[in-house]
């Protein structure tokens, strides 16, 4: 193998107490890869991401991120959740939200330094939300909020960026804009994105991991109708494409 993997899952199984959600999953992700994880609902996509973030412990198997257990390396990972845990009417501005990405790096009492502010502003500029900096979260549209969440993850200066359905609740045009942004970030970091929309993301990612309890990887060019049919167990609209 060439470069060491930034993400390494060996024979990982997981259950929430009932049936196995994940079963014997193996996955190696190399630095600067753009990996898409696709699969049907309840196929274990978000669970897999949470295992990689160390928010869940595997039932069996081993998870290593940047060569370490995820709890040790997660300050180097940026995360964009599918369902943010906060309430939209929390009295907080866009800038303060993005600054949260600096928490692990800030001073002893969590006081932010000048560099933290600069990194946060840079992140807002890159996701084109700098002009919203003083706005309240509750005044944002769905697409704007999604950009703010990406900015917050970017403010962590991550080596790996993990996104869970980043475009599930926004329209097609904004979806394209967000993936164009991700493509640009991919030059300096590894990106792992969970999506249910294989047809759309295959235009951006280098590799697709198909997850439905077990995981099978494909290079994007190798995906055909049969792969998708066996994964979803139904016909799915797809467009053949070559890179």
């Amino acid at each position: 193998m060439s470069a060491p993997s930034v993400v390494s899952l060996r024979n990982v199984s997981f259950s929430y107490g009932g049936p196995r959600v994940l079963d014997g999953v193996n996955l190696e992700v190399e630095e600067h890869e753009f990996l898409g994880i696709v699969g049907p609902n309840a196929g274990g996509k978000s669970t897999l991401l949470k295992l990689m973030l160390g928010l869940l412990e595997p039932l069996r198997g081993e998870v290593r991120i940047l060569g370490e257990p995820p709890q040790r390396s997660r300050t180097q990972v940026g995360y964009v959740p599918q369902y943010p845990q906060f309430s939209r009417d929390f009295p907080i501005t866009v800038e303060q939200t993005v600054m949260m990405g600096r928490l692990g790096m800030s001073g002893l009492f969590g006081n932010y330094r000048r560099r933290d502010r600069a990194v946060a502003r840079q992140a807002m500029a890159e996701t084109e939300v700098l002009d919203l900096a003083a706005r309240q979260l509750c005044t944002l549209s769905g697409g704007q909020l999604q950009r703010v969440l990406v900015a917050r993850a970017l403010a962590c200066e991550p080596r790996i960026l993990m996104l869970d359905e980043p475009t599930a609740n926004i329209d097609m045009r904004v979806e394209t804009e967000i993936f164009d942004l991700l493509k640009r970030f991919n030059k300096r970091m590894t990106i792992i994105v969970v999506s249910h929309d294989i047809g759309f993301i295959s235009g951006y990612v280098n590799r697709v991991a198909c997850l439905n309890r077990t995981l099978i990887c494909h290079h994007t060019a190798a995906i055909d109708g049969d792969t998708i049919r066996s994964l979803y167990d139904a016909d799915v609209k797809m467009v053949e494409h070559r890179h």
Binding site: R74, P81, Q85, P91, I92, Q96, L103, C156
Partner: protein, 283 residues
């Protein structure tokens, strides 16, 4: 007006007023966290189970407020632990702690020889009984609250806003969550003198909830909630004085009425704005 001339003459009224103002600081600062983090039910559980500690202290002949302080912190840690470990049964368990704490308190008080009228003043407060020693203790609690919040402002903000993300950033979420609940606990003790432990929850949430209608940052919310808390205590104290009404209950009624008025006002304003936007869009 009668109240203001009486205030000049009677030191007990001055003490009551100072006590009320000191209580507003805690209720504004910590109440804002209770409102934005939506832990009103947890705060209710903490404040009611405090009676257990007060009763025990009363029975053993110790300071009831000291007992309240210990009981409040124990209740906060217990409730925090319940929330973190048995998230699914959270409301049942907190409800149980709530009632069991009160039951323990009532048993102790009933077995304490002597006059048991003080039960009422624990439950509903007696701001007119605030003495200089209480004032010093309240000032101490305020100082503790302000120092802790000043030192941990960013962590408390992160934990109230998005626990999962804070944990991913390496913030010791459990520690700061429990610390925040302990701050709620000491605030409850601070407010017990003023409105009693049954009505604490109203003074802890209403001023901050009204403030949330008008300001859009946590810091401003704390400031406005403190001012509103002070206004409600002074108004309640003043209104209750001439007709000799219970001060705690009057303060809560003033706060409750203000909240209702504010809610109706902001809802009407929001609806008006929506209509205006709609009209503009149609043109």
């Amino acid at each position: 007006m009668e109240f203001f001339s009486a205030l000049w003459e009677h030191p007990f009224l001055q003490h009551a007023l100072i006590g009320g103002l000191l209580a507003s600081i805690g209720c504004g600062v910590i109440g804002s966290y209770v409102v934005v983090k939506r832990i009103g039910f947890l705060a209710g559980g903490i404040s009611h189970s405090v009676l257990g500690g007060m009763g025990a202290a009363f029975f053993l002949g110790m300071s009831p407020l000291g007992g309240a302080l210990v009981a409040a912190v124990v209740a906060a840690l217990l409730i925090g632990w319940v929330r973190l470990t048995w998230h699914e049964q959270e409301d049942t368990l907190i409800g149980a702690l709530w009632a069991v704490g009160m039951a323990i308190g009532i048993l102790f008080i009933s077995k304490t020889p002597g006059y048991s009228v003080s039960l009422m003043s624990y439950l509903f407060g007696n701001i007119l009984m605030v003495n200089p020693a209480d004032i010093w203790m309240m000032a101490g609690i305020d100082l503790l609250i302000l120092l802790t919040v000043a030192l941990c402002y960013q962590q408390f903000l992160a934990v109230s806003f998005d626990e999962e993300f804070a944990r991913l950033r390496g913030v010791p979420v459990t520690f700061f969550y429990l610390l925040l609940l302990c701050m709620v606990a000491v605030t409850v003790v601070l407010l017990i003198q003023v409105v009693g432990l049954i009505l604490v929850i109203a003074l802890l949430t209403l001023p901050a909830a009204i403030a949330a209608h008008y300001v859009r940052s946590l810091g401003k919310m704390m400031l406005l909630a403190t001012l509103l808390g002070a206004l409600f205590t002074v108004l309640g104290l003043g209104i209750s004085y001439a007709p000799d009404l219970p001060a705690g209950a009057t303060i809560i009624l003033v706060a409750g009425t203000s909240y209702l008025v504010s809610l109706l006002f902001t809802t009407a304003r929001k609806r008006r704005e929506l209509r205006r936007q709609l009209l503009r869009a149609m043109q």
